[in-house]
Amino acid sequence: MLDPNAIRQRILGALPGSEVDVNDTTGTGDHFEARVVSPAFAGKSMVEQHQMVYAPLQDWLKTGELHALALKTYSPEQWKKLGPR
């Protein structure tokens, strides 16, 4: 069982200055969705942005403790243009 806030803290640790929302989508503590808006995403492709979020969560993903994380990632500029939807 993971806590959304534990996931949020890890993402924030890897991407300081980001805006991070994490929700438990099934209430079972292993399926989550996250929205991350980070200045570090500027000029990165979406796959690079996702890899930057997965990086600090590798051990949880490997053990299966974190089974699924649906991601929406935006640079501040993308967020201004696209979000909130």
Binding site: G43, S45, M46, V47, H50, Q51, A70, L71, K72, L82
Partner: protein, 106 residues
């Protein structure tokens, strides 16, 4: 990973604008995510598909090649784009057409 396989992926990806590594083929997709990815991509042009179920070496190798854990995988203009979630999000944001046209770095 073995160099023959890597050379084969390099060639496959270089010689087609849109490449989809999927489960099944364009006529008979064997997985909902692969089918959805194919459907989105076909709106943007000719899609070259590779059936990973036809060859276990390809199925495992492509994951190492792109450092991405799941199938389907999409390559556009020689660049790894991501899996089906990213593809859908790019389509929703209206960025896919630009990528196929080679207009964005994404």
């Amino acid at each position: 990973m073995n160099t023959d396989l890597k050379a084969r992926f390099d060639a496959e990806i270089r010689s087609h604008k849109i490449v989809l590594f999927m489960k099944g083929n364009a006529l008979f997709p064997q997985c909902g995510f692969s089918a959805r990815a194919l459907q989105i991509l076909q709106q943007h042009g000719q899609v070259h598909t590779v059936d990973v179920l036809a060859d276990p070496e390809v199925r495992q190798g492509i994951k190492e090649y792109s450092n991405w854990p799941t199938i389907p995988q999409i390559f556009i203009n020689g660049k790894f784009v991501g899996g089906s979630d990213i593809l859908m999000e790019l389509e929703e944001r209206g960025e896919l057409a630009d990528m196929v046209a080679g207009k964005t770095p994404a």
